[in-house]
């Protein structure tokens, strides 16, 4: 029995350590981009430890947000190289895992999956990022919770509404935790506002949206008259909330 367990364990270790011709320094990279970084770049170094050249058939990423590039199409015996994966952070948040699949003409291991894990720091976590009232609904305040992300210290936040038709009030509910109460002045018109949320010591801006939406109409009911929007543009479903303009501003 003991011999069987030992053989099984050794086989397992052997299988894991058995190498194809292309030996990778690491196949998974964890990146911690700084606040404000637009990209996170992973480097995957390899060496051809075999006796024959290895040809890259394809190098492609799991999504369009990641560009993968190989330094060379063919790697001779003993040669080293690197594959670079550039992940465009965009407006992504939290932990992002992207993969790059490398296909070669190796007999033993034709496909290798390289993993790029990017932990994107988020200074403020906002929930929900969208509050709405149905047309005609009572314009009661709705709350948005804002709290400081892990490893961030936020003492004060500033909330600005792009439309004077929405009022906001900020209340500190704990260390690094805030409650933002939003309410419209009225709900008869289809109004919208972009709420800009900023912490006092950071240039980064976060957003939430407040909106009056059309109520689901019964079949045959007349269409509701649409009043002009906050900036004179026609209101209604096709008018998005504009970027911040002079409007109500509270702390």
């Amino acid at each position: 029995m003991k011999t069987h367990i030992l053989t099984l364990t050794l086989s397992f270790i052997f299988c894991l350590t058995a190498r194809a011709e292309l030996k990778w320094e690491q196949t998974a990279v964890e990146l911690h981009p700084a606040r404000g970084d637009k990209q996170a770049i992973g480097h995957y170094k390899y060496q051809n430890v075999g006796k024959t050249p290895v040809h890259f058939k394809s190098v492609h990423a799991s999504c369009g947000c990641t560009a993968a590039q190989s330094q060379k199409d063919q790697v001779g015996p003993g040669e080293k190289g690197e594959i670079t994966a550039t992940f465009n952070i965009g407006d992504r948040t939290g932990t992002q895992v992207k993969t790059v699949t490398v296909e070669t003409d190796e007999a033993a291991n034709q496909k290798t999956v390289l993993t790029l894990k990017a932990i994107i720091p988020q200074e403020l976590e906002i929930s929900p990022t969208f509050v709405f009232w149905k047309q005609g609904e009572k314009p009661d305040p709705k709350s948005i919770t804002v709290h400081a992300g892990k490893d961030f210290s936020v003492k004060h936040i500033k909330v600005t509404s792009s439309s004077p038709d929405f009022q906001t009030k900020v209340e500190e509910t704990g260390e690094g935790q805030f409650k933002v109460d939003v309410h419209p002045n009225e709900t008869n018109r289809l109004l919208a506002s972009t709420l800009t949320i900023q912490s006092e010591n950071s240039p980064k801006t976060f957003y939430a949206t407040a909106r009056i939406t059309t109520a689901p109409t019964a079949p045959g009911a007349p269409a509701i008259q649409k009043a002009p929007g906050p900036l004179g543009a026609p209101a209604g479903p096709t008018a998005p909330a504009r970027p911040p303009a002079p409007g109500s501003q509270t702390r």
Binding site: L8, I13, L16, T27
Partner: protein, 152 residues
Amino acid sequence: MRFSLGNFIWRIVDLIIAAIFIYAGVLKALDPVQLAHDIDHYKILPWTIGVGLAFYLPWLEIFCGLALIFRLFYRGALSILTALVVVFLVATIAAKVRGLDITCGCFGHASQNWSFPAHLALDLGILAALAVLCYCSVARARANASPMPTSS
């Protein structure tokens, strides 16, 4: 069975190991969907296999833990748990050597923020305890098998 310090310590280690595996199994069994996503997160196993493991492994741990407590199918439970820990250990070390950031996830989502050394220490500790239990079980089996000395 006469009381002896050795047997008492054996029983305590039994219960501690059983409790660890039952606790780990219950934590994972409570949210198998999250466990499947945690397994998939490392992109090591195909999704389908990850889902199968997410539903099966926690219960294997729970049943083996219970087997240790109630001393039913004791040696079978010991061998399964030993095999599980050895596989976890070897996979974790090999993955780390290859640059993969794999934290065992023994306690499901609850342990995902543990460091690699912490996972390694726990796994080695459990393996050592299981080795002790195996030894005690074999020693006891041999003692029961050998005939009692007769007084002349």
